[in-house]
């Protein structure tokens, strides 16, 4: 199965009807309808009701829809779940996850609500968000805590606050956390998604940071403004040369496979299973039909 692209995940405040209404047309891969930090305390109920109704009525087209609920330890977390889980958005994001016990408690409620609403085959997946030093320390166990978790994400703003440091443009303070979270995610075959880039007018800074997080293994990045979508996609999209190379690798792979050859060389460089897998990822990003290549290679 082709994995969903999660290059860009746009935060939309849950109490902003105009933006939610347009969420599906900004061109991002996913939207995060936020009931947590983007919503003031006295707006929590309004946001929850709005998001609930918008999930029922708005056409989000192909955009993946995630709802970030409030943490379970706040007065709003459980009510958020009661309203949102029955609607089965693509995913729910659980903020400030610190322990396996957090995940277990959260998932127990999710499953209870699904059962109460007769949802026998739930499609909704879970994103856990690591935003504290404790969460970073426990991230390997958290990532493996439930099979419905399919993405793990770092919250840079809260994490730096928790660590008592200032978030700097070079991101050095959260670099260890980023890499540890990536490794935990990769070990469990999860998508790992990066934190926001706060300066919406600094396209160059956004590009630089996105290039870095792509290099260390993130699948995508959270955004706070639709204007950031193009830059992030541009970084994550393969270049024309990369696509050509991947096409050649996959094509040769199919030919060699038919001849019973597992490892072969292109221009003197060894091509084995990991190289083929990387080529497939590139071709999927470029929306190139693998079956067409297989047909032509045959």
């Amino acid at each position: 199965m082709v994995k969903k692209k999660r290059r860009s995940m746009l935060y939309i405040p849950g109490n902003n009807p105009a933006m939610i209404q347009q969420a599906g047309v900004y061109g991002c891969d996913a939207v995060l309808l936020d009931l947590e930090d983007a919503v003031a305390l006295n707006q929590k109920d309004a946001a929850r009701i709005l998001v609930r109704n918008m999930l029922k009525t708005v056409n989000f087209y192909d955009t993946e829809v995630c709802v970030r609920v409030n943490n379970f330890h706040t007065p709003f977390g459980l009510t958020d779940l009661e309203e949102i889980v029955p609607l089965q958005p693509d995913n729910i994001r659980f903020p400030k996850t610190e322990t396996v016990a957090d995940v277990k408690e959260f998932m127990k409620e999710v499953r209870r609500i699904e059962k109460e609403h007769g949802i026998k085959n739930p499609t909704m997946t879970i994103h856990v968000m690591i935003e504290t030093a404790k969460g970073v320390a426990n991230v390997y166990d958290i990532a493996a805590a439930d099979p419905r978790i399919d993405a793990i994400t770092i919250g840079g703003q809260d994490l730096t606050a928790d660590m008592g440091i200032i978030k700097t443009p070079d991101g050095v303070g959260i670099d260890y956390a980023r890499k540890r979270i990536v490794m935990a995610g990769k070990a469990n075959d999860l998508d790992v998604l990066d934190t926001i880039f706060a300066d919406v007018n600094d396209d160059e800074g956004l590009r630089e940071e996105t290039e870095y997080i792509k290099k260390i293994g993130f699948a995508g990045k959270a955004l706070i403004n639709p204007r950031q979508v193009d830059v992030v996609h541009d970084v994550f999209n393969p270049t024309e040369n990369e696509v050509r190379k991947a096409y050649r690798v996959y094509s040769e792979f199919i030919k060699n496979k038919k001849a019973g050859i597992g490892v072969f060389a292109i221009d003197g460089k060894m091509v084995d299973a990991p190289v083929v897998q990387r080529a497939i990822t590139v071709l999927e990003y470029a929306k190139i039909d693998l079956k067409e290549i297989e047909k032509n290679a045959g």
Binding site: Q22, V25, G27, R227
Partner: protein, 519 residues
């Protein structure tokens, strides 16, 4: 009688004469065929070494011997900062002149003060390409004696040449002029750039007054308007509000939705088959339209494309693209911001042109006919691809025809950009309230919820689909939007015709009725 798009057109309107119904974009414009009526230039004479300088505008107007029923023209190069038109009208009113036909190339918010003159019958007819603000409201409720005629920029030139507009007095502001009337907008403290619209008035009006706040030593060089057409010259303290005349540099919108629409439009252009070296391009100055230039600029750099020329209303953004070498030249009929004036003045590849060369349908070298791609805005569009840029949601006059229909008719690819809805109002209708540009000349409508391709262009639709563009049927889009917004209530209109939309060939494409309850 019904015109080609099914609008009932009166055969005759008192005060305006016989009307011809719109027959189709190119039906009445036939190559090598000269229109039946054609005026010649006014004969003028002046004895040697007689000064044209007048001590004030009042004296200059008096010397032009104004009369009841005359036609007065101005240009709109001073945009919202114009202070000249109102001065001229005030003087004419104080002289007791009545029944004036006002034929300014466009009317802006600077002309709200015309309302009392309309109400008391001092101004009884208006020919223009745009009407906004309080004046638009006043006309919409029926306060102008005869229906306002909304023409296109090119249509205005044609109206001059056929005698439909017969200018008796033209009062033309300039940012620099000399004692003989050589005049320009490209330099001086109030520089506003091209004088492309004014050039026509200077050539064809019976009496021409140049008004400037910057009388320079003879000769004024370089200049646009030439002395042999000019009757009088007046030095004034101010030609208007400098901050609104020279409105800084144009900035690209920050609106995510406009940027999204613009991004899609640029992708449409890239895959239209016209995105190649030598491409010519025009874009408007507002929101999503101008933002298309931003993305096109990036795409041109990425693909090493060098265009031939840009035309039209020119922004500083267009000038930047010229300076970067992305286009060889700019043909400039109107400059949208202060930064453009310097380019008009100093860059030989930034060529000032008259509106005649820009868009007149009845010449043999109109730039709009050489245009590859134009990106235009819309207040409303409809399932037949007709575009409204003149009337608002209550049916009130609040916009401008400008060069919309001129460029749409000539361009190889006409792209209209607009959101699928604004606030709670759907933008795609069964029928727009007022047709300014017929769907026949519109190829693509780009919204944030999909791209609609005119069914007359199946090859274009196929190319765009192949490139991954989300092409949707315009009727499906309309239905989808109405599910969110509902269908607005019918407009409350009366049976008085308050405006006529004249297509660029002089035929009538639509009729505007009075609005009963203007909120």
């Amino acid at each position: 009688m019904k015109n080609a798009i099914g609008v009932e057109i009166p055969e005759y309107i008192e005060g305006l004469g016989k009307l011809e119904p719109f027959q189709g974009v190119w039906k009445s414009i036939i190559e090598d065929e000269v229109p039946s009526t054609n005026i010649s230039r006014t004969l003028k004479a002046k004895k040697p070494h007689v000064s044209k300088l007048c001590k004030n505008l009042e004296e200059a107007i008096k010397r032009c011997k104004p009369f009841d029923g005359m036609t007065v023209t101005c240009h709109h190069h001073l945009r919202g900062g114009d202070g000249v038109l109102m001065q001229a009208i005030k003087i004419l009113d104080e002289m007791g002149i009545k029944d004036i036909t006002l034929a300014s190339s466009s009317l802006t918010s600077a002309h709200d003060g015309l309302v009392p003159y309309v109400e008391k019958g001092m101004i009884t007819r208006i020919f223009t390409s745009g009407i906004r603000g309080a004046l638009g409201d006043a006309i919409s409720v029926g306060k102008l004696k005869y229906p306002a005629i909304i023409h296109s920029h090119g249509g205005r030139v044609r109206d001059f040449l056929t005698g439909r507009i017969k200018p008796d007095l033209s009062v033309l502001a300039a940012s620099a002029a000399d004692e003989e009337g050589n005049a320009t907008g490209a330099h001086g403290p109030s520089a506003f750039g091209s004088m492309g619209y004014a050039d026509i008035d200077a050539r064809y009006s019976r009496n021409v007054i140049i008004v400037t706040d910057n009388l320079v030593e003879y000769p004024c060089v370089p200049c646009t308007v030439r002395q042999h057409f000019i009757d009088y010259v007046v030095k004034v303290d101010s030609i208007g509000d400098a901050t609104k005349i020279a409105s800084g540099t144009t900035r690209i919108t920050n609106s995510p939705m406009d940027l999204r629409i613009a991004r899609i439009a640029a992708t449409v252009i890239e895959h239209s088959g016209l995105f190649k070296n030598g491409m010519s391009f025009q874009v408007g100055a507002g929101g999503a339209s101008l933002a298309v230039a931003k993305f096109l600029r990036e795409d041109m750099k990425r693909k090493n494309i060098i265009g031939s020329f840009m035309i039209g209303g020119v922004t500083s953004y267009g000038v930047d693209m010229l300076n970067e070498g992305l286009f060889h030249s700019i043909f400039d009929v109107q400059s949208f911001d202060a930064a453009v004036s310097t380019s008009v003045l100093n860059n030989p590849n930034h060529i000032e042109i008259s509106c005649d060369q820009y868009a007149n349908p009845n010449n043999c070298g109109s730039m709009t006919n050489k245009l590859d791609v134009v990106v235009l805005g819309a207040l409303e569009v409809d399932v037949d691809f007709n575009v409204n840029v003149i009337t608002g949601s209550s049916g009130e006059i609040r916009g401008a025809s400008g060069g919309h229909s001129d460029t749409a008719s000539g361009a190889n690819l006409t792209v209209v950009v607009c959101p699928a809805f604004r606030g709670r109002l759907p933008i795609v209708k069964d029928r727009v309230h007022t047709v300014v540009t017929p769907g026949e000349s519109v190829d693509v409508i780009v919204t944030e919820r999909g791209v609609c391709v005119n069914p007359a262009k199946p090859n274009l639709a196929a190319k765009l689909k192949e490139a991954g563009v989300q092409v949707v049927d315009i009727r499906d889009l309309k239905e989808e939007v109405e599910k969110m917004t509902g269908v607005p209530a019918e407009k409350q209109l009366g049976d008085q015709i308050v405006g006529l939309v004249e297509y660029r060939d002089g035929t009538i494409i639509d009729v505007i009725y009075n609005v009963k309850n203007l909120s």
